[in-house]
């Protein structure tokens, strides 16, 4: 029984969409293949690397081990949806650019989406907490240092602590 399809209605990057989806598809498959949202990357397909991370109803999920049919009725945000309506990029994306937190760029979308969730909370986290909250991603280029700086600086700036942010 390889031809089982289901209508999946959801909001992707702010837009209500619906498509018949193969029930065997992961959310990664659906986002990449059916909606061509290629920022969602495949690095391991077993939930270990975090490259396919997207927000589902505001929480981070590895879309590779999330069935596409479960997205029905949910709100999905991928990196493509993080910029504003006129393409203005978010502060965390700009921080990744400014802090040289981007190298090969393959893990970047997943990291940025985790950062987006963390920053959305409006809380001030300790360094150890930031590391833990970002620990669901592997990166082989950066040693996490500049990613850490980008997240911490953006957090502090959102809290109005610009001087502290500059000192990170």
């Amino acid at each position: 029984m390889s031809n089982q399809y289901k209508l999946v209605r959801c909001i992707i990057n702010g837009k209500q969409v619906e498509k018949m989806i193969d029930v065997r598809a992961s959310l990664t498959d659906m986002l990449r293949d059916d909606y061509r949202l290629t920022s969602v990357k495949k690095g391991c397909e077993v939930g270990e690397c975090g490259a396919c991370n997207v927000l589902v109803n505001g929480e981070c999920f590895n879309s590779c081990i999330y069935l596409a049919v479960w997205a029905d009725g949910k709100e999905i945000l991928t990196l493509e949806g993080l910029a504003g309506p006129n393409g203005e990029i978010s502060d965390i994306q700009q921080a990744f650019i400014d802090e040289a937190a981007v190298q090969c760029g393959f893990c970047t979308p997943g990291f940025v989406m985790s950062a987006a969730e963390i920053l959305e909370s409006g809380k001030e986290y300790s360094d150890d907490e930031i590391r833990k909250l970002m620990s669901g991603h592997l990166c082989r280029c950066t040693g996490y240092e500049n990613i850490f700086r980008a997240v911490k600086k953006t957090m502090l700036r959102r809290l109005g602590k610009n001087a502290e942010a500059d000192a990170v």
Binding site: C44, Q103, G105
Partner: protein, 769 residues
Amino acid sequence: MYVGKKVTRVDAYDKAIGRTKYTDDLCDKSAYIAQVLHATIANGRVKSIDTSAAEAIPGVIKVFTCFDLKEKHYFPTAGHPWSTDESHQDVADRLVLTDRVRFYGDDIGAVVAENEVAAAQAIRAIKVEYEEYPFVLDVHEAMKDGAPQLHEAYPNNILKHTTIRKGNYEEAIKEPGLIKVEGWYQTPTVQHCHIENFICFAEMIGDRIKVVTSTQIPHIVRRVVGQALGVEWGKIQIIKPYIGGGFGNKQDVLYEPLCAWLCMQLGGHLVKLDIPREDTFVSNRVRHAIHSHIVSWVRPDGTYAARKLEAFSDQGAYASHGHSICAKGAGAFPQLYPCDNVEVDAYTVFTNKSVAGAMRGYGIPQAMWAVECHTEEVAARLGMDPIEFRRKNLMPVGYMDPFSKNELYSDTFNQCIDKGMEVTDYLRKYKAYQNQTGDIRRGIGMAVFWYNTAVWPISLETSSCRMVLNQDGSLQVQLGETEIGQGADTAYTQMTADVVGVPLDKVHVVSCQDTDVTPFGTGAYASRQTYTAGFAIRQTGMLLKERILKYAHELTRMPPYNLDIVDGNIVRITDGRVLMTLGELATEALYSLTHSQHITAESTSQIKSNAYSFGCTFAEVEVDIPMCKVKLLDLVNVHDAGTIINPALAEAQVHGGMSMGIGFGLSEKLLFDDKTGRALNNNLLDYKLSTFMDHPRLRAFFVENPEPTSSFGTKALGEPPTCSVAPAIRNAVYQATGVFVNDAPVNPHILFRRFEEEGLIEKEGSDHV
């Protein structure tokens, strides 16, 4: 001037908004999906393969086996420049599919299907009958007479044995009063773990074959695909888009030949081969595990009388980069701490394991593990301060290697060590951490490293560049040297802007290499690109500038020697007046009814120089003895990479190398089952990459002594950051605990054994009360 400035990466914006396209993102959905059938024995021969059940699965297009290979074109895979001298060519020991199995995971067949589910089902449905041979996993066992032989042409499985002899070791050790220090040092098999797995797709256009692939070396891949298929090289087109890291694994030709072959068997239909993470560990490349034996004979005053190194490098089943790795490490040995009497024996040995190839550092991380662990022990035996002992023996200023003609022009080692000591508060901490007791102890340690840039004079060094002037005064720049995440395109942009005299945003480096149109260059490896491409960029930029100024002379009537290009304008030097913009000139040049000219320049630089690139690591650790765990408190790298082209990207590059060193030193190790030869932990859960939570803040510093041989004063920085991290951590653990650990990684398993041996923790069964 842009060189030396913290310019934002040219590709950062696209990567941060998620629109950068990697190989898989470019593949049309009409592609057939290929999967590789891997052997499930470590040594032997495929007797038969029953594909009937697999072929009956709906969606399966075709199943191919090693017996379908009509012509056997053996090919080499190393990402080395080709040599027209047969004796210098890489060993050609691979076939796209093989019936002679040499490791658990060897490629014996492939399935092509309409989708990945059918392909996976087919792989599981194939039945293979083998003739099994005994296998060998250990280099020392493999060298013994009577050991299972992997390749007929290499008795005792020795791919190569090279020696270095200086002075007279045997005589020198007779000097009275010498202290002998001896040790064995082991490094683990590790994998690159770029986050994008290897992937490629192939299709035919006319009678030519196009392969889009995640590679560091497109022009080399073109040659090898041609060799592997027996097809004229000009009929092969390789396209390299952005890639999700490489670190040397993609400096090998991996599955491009197989993918191209499958495509050709299917009438040129688009075929995609996306290698899963589990196979990336086993059937791509790994870092050579090297077992090193060092004997030093030292005088009580801390000088070396004689030194000996024997290194045994685990090649795995096929030659790939072969002995080059072990030889590079062996070559560093007599240079880093020069001594009058030296013996070096380096062996590279086949075993029935995953194939070892290039990986960031290319033999130097292994060599530095051995040498810098050993150096610490020698200093300890002499009762000397480990840093003072190093300073006394390190390569002196003015040292020149007679073979490469590399010269140490500056007091790099002392400057780097001084910087490291200053920023880590080394002296105070070293003193404070002496003679601790208790369960939790701290330590600080360091290690230095030797590295050299590029591959001259062992191999060819060449780089070609093309610059094309657009109507608006901007330039397209093309090079065979590739962007693999390190920031090469940005460095090229800065260099070009400076040489030609245009604003940064007027330089468009074409990131994608397409061997149909990209000038020849060998690609990303050996930390060569900023150094070697720099020559081609300067030479081509000067050529372009000369042509621009010649045209400017026609338009302005001013002699070229009185003209310059400054900030995108044609400027009269004598009074500084802007005569026209470069855009005005370019538009006129293209559309002129009297003299139309497309102003371009293209040139090749062959580079016959090379440069040392040295530095050090300082590590501070906290060791929880009962828990057998090491926590990194601080990690600092200091490099002399000459002139830094872009401080922000250089720093980022160093962080990444340090991170890889952390894994090498503390946690990563690919394990193989003794009974079957199968990899045990070939996934990202069981293979312990160091996570965000395992990293301390990373700190990178530079001592900038411009390299005199370099076109921009720069030299290697891609690989050096990973070379001295592991031994620095190990030496810090020694200071904390007084325990030497000679087998990397320094993980809880080995610490448990060593702490037990040294009596730091109680043996099981003893009374805890």
